[in-house]
Structures are given as C-alpha cells and as structure tokens.
C-alpha cells in the first residue's frame, strides 16, 4: 500500500533533517580533529550562499541533469517512505546517480570526467549489495513493499546479519566518506579538484547539496528498515551507524578505486551471498 502522507513528510522534512545531520557531521568531525568546527547550521549557510551566487553554467544541458538528479533522488526517498516497492527504490536511486554522472560528463573538463568515471565505478561497487539487500529482505518477509516489510514481526538484522554488514560497507561509498570518497572529496584538490561536482557552481551546486541531504535521510531510513520491528532500537541503530561512519571517515585515508570496487564486491560476495544461501537453506528446510 502506498501512503502519501509519509512521502509528503519526507519531501518537506528531509532537507531539514539531512542538513542538520551534515552540520552535526562537520561538528563531530571537527571535534575528532581537535578543532572547534563550524555551527551545526553551516550546511544551510553554505547552500543559502550557493543560491545567492551567480548562476554560471558550462552549457545548456547541465541544469537539466542537476534537476533530474534532484527529482529522482527525491522520488527514491518519497517512494521508500510511502511504503513502495523496494526494488524500484533501488533502481530509482541508480537512475538519479546516473543523471549526476551525465551532468559531470556534460562539461568538457578532465577533472569532471575523472570524477564521473569514478562515480560510475562506485555505482558498480555498491549496486550488487543494494539489490541483494532488497532480495534478502524479500526472502525473509516475502514482500518487496516497504509497507509490508515494516509489518514483519522480527528484527530483520537477526536473519540478515551478512546483508546488513555488506550494506554498512556500501553505505560508506554512498555517503562519500573516506576511505571511499574517491569520486568527490573536500580533501582531494591536487588529485581531482572536486571530482564529479567540479564543474557545478552556484545554484546548481546548491541543488546537488540539497539532493545529498535527501539521499542521506533515505539511506538512514534503509538502515532503519533492518530494525523496523523495534523502532526505538531502530533509531538507536541509525544514530550508531551514523557516528560509526564519521569515525571511519576520520580514521581512514582515501583508497584507490580498484580497492574500493574489489573490497566491496568481496564483502558482498562473502557475507551477503553466504547469508542468502543459509537463508535459502533454512527456508527450504
């Protein structure tokens, strides 16, 4: 069953929650580095500033791709929170990502192109585990509909520990955290300038930033799904996962794309597939 009210809440509140979370991210990161750090409202100031800047575009198609990226990322999250089809959610997210990559390719710039190619490699790395997550959840609950999955009486993480671990590993890629911030990073000036977002400026970059907030809220919602049977435990798990990502971000250096792809696939292959095989055996028996 699709319910529009949660979707509406997501569309309206996700930028606020996502922005605040990235503000907390920067504050916690600063404290981990022994700094004071900016206000937790800093991401809002940044985006506000970007919308005040001149709208400089490298060509006419760039804005189309940015807006498409925004629309499909919002659609992904809205469909998820409306209780829609989990498979469709996973593929809609990929579609959004593809628009970002196309936007980066639209500019004739080597840094943007390198960023776009690395972004594609990242999609390639995390896509199997995203799909396997949906498959694993289906095998347990017998439904792809998020609204049905939420009704499942048991904690999914108990039956899908491998899938959950694999998902956490891929989450670092999705949140663009070290060691997998290979396509775009604030710390890679000498390497790729700003990677996939190099050629976006002003309002376009602001919209990409807002889209990242939507994605952040959606991904944390996905983490919650594994603990949906007990929502207090779910919220605690989401907070722990978020802080764990920050800790990983601050204790790791950026790796090469080869390692990012290989390790993500290896983890997916080992923990997720084994999890599914065991699950299939248990279900059959």
């Amino acid at each position: 069953m699709i319910s529009f009210f949660p979707a509406l809440i997501f569309v309206l509140l996700a930028p606020l929650i996502g922005g605040l979370l990235s503000g907390i991210d920067r504050k916690v990161t600063a404290h981990m580095q022994g700094r004071v750090g900016p206000s937790i409202f800093q991401p809002f100031y940044d985006v506000g500033k970007l919308f005040e800047k001149e709208n400089a575009e490298v060509n006419g198609t760039q804005r189309f791709y940015v807006i498409s990226y925004f629309i499909f990322a919002v659609f992904t999250g809205a469909l998820f929170f409306a209780g829609g089809d989990l498979l469709l959610v996973v593929f809609a997210l990929t579609l959004a990502e593809v628009f970002l990559v196309l936007g980066a390719y639209a500019a004739y710039s080597p840094y943007s192109h390198v960023g776009a190619e690395r972004e594609l490699l990242q999609v390639m790395a995390y896509e199997p585990i995203m799909i396997l997550s949906a498959v694993g959840i289906y095998m347990v609950t017998g439904s792809f509909a998020v609204s049905e999955i939420l009704k499942y009486p048991m904690l999914l993480v108990v039956l899908l520990p491998g899938i959950f671990l694999g998902f956490l590993y891929a989450l670092t890629i999705k949140l663009r955290k070290s060691p997998f911030d290979i396509s775009t990073s604030h710390h890679a000036h000498q390497e790729i300038v700003k990677g996939v977002t190099t050629e976006f400026s002003g309002p376009n970059l602001g919209l990409i930033e807002v889209t990242h907030w939507y994605e952040l809220v959606f991904l944390l919602g996905f983490v919650f799904l594994f603990f949906a049977a007990n929502w207090i435990l779910g919220i605690i798990a989401v907070i722990i996962v978020f802080l764990l990502e920050l800790f990983i971000d601050n204790t790791n250096a950026r790796v090469k794309w080869q390692l990012a792809v290989k390790s993500t696939w290896a983890i997916t292959l080992v923990v997720a597939i084994v999890n599914l095989v065991v699950l299939a055996y248990v279900v059959v028996v």
Binding site: Q33, G37, P38, G48, K49, S201
Partner: protein, 162 residues
C-alpha cells in the same frame, strides 16, 4: 539574507611565493586557528570559491593563470593579496621577470602586508574581504554595476614591468 558572509569558500593560488605566506595560510586551517569554524573552506576549485587568495609576486609566466582563475569564479567574488610580494612585488619588484603585485593583473580588494603575513592578519584580511563581498552582492541585487576602483599601485608601474 547575507549567507555569503557565513560561508566564504576560498581558493588559494601561489604566484611565485617563497612558500612563507602559503604556510601561514595553511596554518589558519589547523586546529590552532581553525578558520572552518567561520565556515571558511579551502576549496581548490575556482568555480566553488568566493574569495581568491593570492600569495607571491606576479611574474610573466603566471599572470595568465591568475586572470584565468579569476575569470572562472562566479560573482560576487573578492581578491585578497597576502604578503608584501602579492601587494607590491616586495623585494622582487625590480626583478626582470616580475610584473609586480597581483593588482597588475586583477582588481584586488584587500591587501594583507607582511613577510610572511601572520595568520592573525590573514584572518583579519579575510574578514575585511567578507564586508566587501556583501557590498558587492547588495550592489548586484540593486542592479548597480559597481566600478572596480583601480588601486594606486596598479597605475605606478615599476620600470621593466608590464
């Protein structure tokens, strides 16, 4: 709303500096001074930057680079010349390959003298630049084309300069 002042992103370019001023700029980012608490980020990308921070004197090789970086930055933008070499050419002013200060190539809004400029004065200069940035934004919103005042240093060219 003046979000510009709360989120100034800088790009730092070293135009034949001795690295003294560059080290001091990077010192501003360390936990000791931590300019990120004011929202200042060193972006390294002209298309994301609001403040162009230049160190060192301009020479014949890199004046096109400086002009190029400046042109790539979206408006409103300000330029801060850090160190005595960037403000006037410093002790290298008379060198055969040195054009002079940064204002020979692009309009400079704030001069931060010193050899090397101290982190405190660099931060002070950036804060002054924020005021000018806000002025430029309001001028743009009002539709007033703000004439860049040509600094005095730009008119008195050294012998052998451009």
């Amino acid at each position: 709303m003046a979000y510009l002042q709360k989120s100034p992103w800088i790009i730092h370019y070293d135009a034949s500096s001795c690295n003294g001023c560059d080290i001091e700029i990077l010192a501003c980012l360390t936990p000791m001074y931590d300019v990120e608490r004011f929202g200042i980020i060193n972006t390294g990308n002209p298309k994301h930057a609001d403040i162009f921070v230049v160190t060192g004197s301009v020479n014949e090789q890199n004046k096109y680079v400086i002009k190029n970086i400046y042109d790539q930055m979206p408006d409103p933008k300000v330029v801060v010349a850090i160190g005595v070499c960037a403000t006037s050419g410093g002790v290298f002013r008379e060198c055969y390959n040195v054009s002079g200060g940064v204002d020979m190539v692009i309009p400079v809004d704030v001069y931060v003298p010193g050899c090397a400029a101290r982190p405190e004065s660099i931060i002070d200069g950036i804060v002054k630049a924020l005021g000018i940035l806000e002025e430029k934004r309001t001028a743009a919103v009002m539709g007033v084309s703000r004439e860049q005042p040509v600094p005095a240093a730009a008119t008195e060219k050294p012998a052998g300069g451009v």
